[in-house]
């Protein structure tokens, strides 16, 4: 049994084996994502710094022309069109996220108070509409809001819109479509938060604070905050980049950043301009993610905010 080995041999052999295992399992997927997503996105970003060529394709030399165009400077001087689009995107994101929170919060709470037997079915009922294709869902709203439909006529009778206009296309229709589209994304994380709610804390709070509003604010709300933040991330980020809903429900005056970007590629109009818009969208996305993480971490719910 005399043994005169070199100490690190078994160790390093094990480490090599583990490293090979990591490579074997992770490399195919990582390579796939790098080749088919990281490289394309990097290319897209570089396009933003190129010149618009004759067929709408990017060409050298490098320039910042596309960002100037995005800010509204064109052949005919400055026009506010793009700026309006950008502001409208922000506004629509804010309003629709706020409305989604207002609707989803009581719904999630309500589901959590119902009998355990019913909860999965109720959640399923909330989620199932989002399983249908986005285009179909939006088309449903087109049917509902078109001129001559009961809803439009009701709005007309109330004097909210002028005769024969219909509720769509309009900014209102876009907001409605966004709320409809993202509601389940907010209900699910909020419900998870409500389900974990520490009822002892709520009861203690009811003892300590006279009013139910204060009990809610001090005991319930903080506990649901991680779910709320997760929901906001899940709603606001895709809402800001939304393409289908404003395209179908918004018309010319309801355009959002997503449509501005897409149009530069669909019609072969101006790739660099579209790419510049995409960069803007990415920046907004990462600022949003970063802000949510920071806030979430400060509130102590950091881990759960990571979607």
């Amino acid at each position: 049994m005399a043994y005169t080995g070199v100490m690190p041999s078994a160790r390093s052999r094990g480490m090599v084996r583990e490293a090979r295992h990591l490579l074997f399992t992770v490399a195919p997927g990582a390579t796939w994502i790098v080749i088919f997503l990281v490289l394309p996105s990097a290319y897209l970003m570089s396009v933003a710094f190129m010149t618009n060529g004759s067929y709408g394709l990017p060409e050298l030399p490098l320039s910042l022309e596309s960002f100037r165009r995005l800010a509204g400077f064109g052949f005919l001087g400055w026009s506010p069109g793009n700026l309006y689009t950008l502001l409208r995107s922000l506004w629509q994101t804010l309003v629709s996220t706020g409305l989604v929170v207002i609707v989803a919060y009581p719904i999630a709470y309500y589901i959590s108070t119902c009998r355990a037997k019913w909860r999965p079915i109720m959640l399923l009922l909330v989620v199932v509409p989002s399983w249908t294709n986005q285009v179909i869902r939006t088309f449903g709203w087109m049917n509902l809001l078109a001129p001559g439909t009961p809803l439009s006529e009701l709005a007309e009778a109330l004097g909210l819109i002028s005769a024969n206009m219909g509720l769509y296309p309009s900014n209102f229709a876009v907001t409605l479509g966004l709320v409809y589209n993202f509601l389940p994304f907010m209900v699910l994380p909020l419900y998870a938060a409500f389900e974990k709610l520490d009822t002892a804390q709520v009861e203690a709070a009811q003892d300590l604070f006279a009013s139910p509003i204060r009990a809610f604010w001090h005991a319930v709300f903080p506990q649901t905050l991680p779910g709320l933040l997760a929901g906001i991330v899940l709603v606001a980020i895709p809402a800001f980049g939304m393409y289908v809903i404003p395209e179908l429900l918004g018309g010319g005056k309801g355009m959002m950043l997503g449509n501005l970007v897409a149009n530069q590629f669909a019609g072969g109009a101006n790739w660099p301009l579209g790419a510049a818009g995409a960069i803007l969208m990415l920046i907004a996305t990462f600022i949003g993610l970063y802000a949510m993480r920071r806030i979430g971490r400060r509130l102590g719910g950091g881990e759960e905010v990571v979607i």
Partner: protein
């Protein structure tokens, strides 16, 4: 007393919200049976729009494309994602931050940026090499890219939920590496694999934006076809095809309900 009014108010709000969620779908279904081609008034029941679907070559090929795309991409994503999920689990004690970023990237990237990046990339590759002409292949590539993270995360969380000594028990009980995969790992994560496949499938069928930008002229899927039809001017045929798709979702919902019920029992 106050509690009861609150509860009653919430119940009312619940039903109102459900109506809000299902109204647009209900309208689509209702008008698919409309006798006239008006989108605003219902004049009587008829199946004529369904009849028209059957003869429409374009719709049939769009349906076939949707299925080929969803199944092929889900199978590929299941294989690749499953490997990553296991790798992430097995090496979870290492610093894998870069991998996590890579895996979350397809999830957090806005659809539209995802779609146009792929499109711009494929167009340039095609110009330079003649490969990857926009069509089903490029769509499959794009779909696999956004499906991989979901599969990986589902598989990963299933592994994390397991008692880690199970892996050692399998080794201890004479299972060779291959037998461990066949007789222990795959059977143990089977529920996760099934749900990952269905999620991938659903994501693929549900997707419009990314498909739209990576599709070629011959590879329109159902959502792309419907989009085109809507853009050309609303036709009641869309209601019929949309109703069929809603029906498919309803069936899927019932199946998932039955499954979760059985798992509880």
């Amino acid at each position: 007393m106050r509690k009861r009014t609150l509860k009653r108010g919430l119940t009312g709000f619940w039903w109102f919200t459900l109506a809000f969620l299902y109204l647009p779908l209900a309208v689509v279904v209702l008008f698919s049976f409309n006798a006239s081609n008006s989108a605003a008034t219902f004049t009587g029941i008829s199946l004529r729009w369904y009849g028209r679907l059957m003869g429409n070559e374009e719709i049939l090929s769009a349906f076939a494309n949707s299925m080929i795309l969803a199944i092929t991409s889900s199978v590929i994503a299941l294989g690749i994602g499953c490997l990553i999920g296991y790798g992430m689990y097995r090496h979870r004690h290492r610093k894998l931050g870069w991998l996590i970023v890579l895996i979350y990237l397809p999830i957090v990237l806005p659809d539209i940026v995802f779609g146009i990046s792929e499109m711009a990339f494929f167009v340039q590759i095609h110009r330079l090499t003649g490969l990857l002409q926009p069509g089903l292949v490029t769509m499959i590539i794009a779909h696999v890219t956004f499906q991989i993270p979901f599969v990986a995360l589902i598989v990963y969380s299933r592994f994390v939920g397991l008692d880690p000594t199970l892996f050692e028990a399998a080794k201890d009980l004479y299972a060779s590496p291959t037998k461990r995969v066949v007789h222990f790992m795959l059977p143990t994560i089977k529920p996760a694999l099934i749900s990952a496949f269905f999620l991938s499938f659903t994501l693929s069928v549900d997707d419009f934006v990314i498909s739209f930008f990576t599709a070629g002229p011959e590879s329109a899927t159902l959502p792309i076809y419907i989009w085109g039809a809507i853009k050309k001017g609303v036709s009641p045929e869309i209601n019929a095809i949309a109703t069929l798709m809603i029906g498919a979702v309803a069936i899927a919902a019932i199946i998932s309900l039955v499954f979760s019920r059985r798992r509880q029992a």
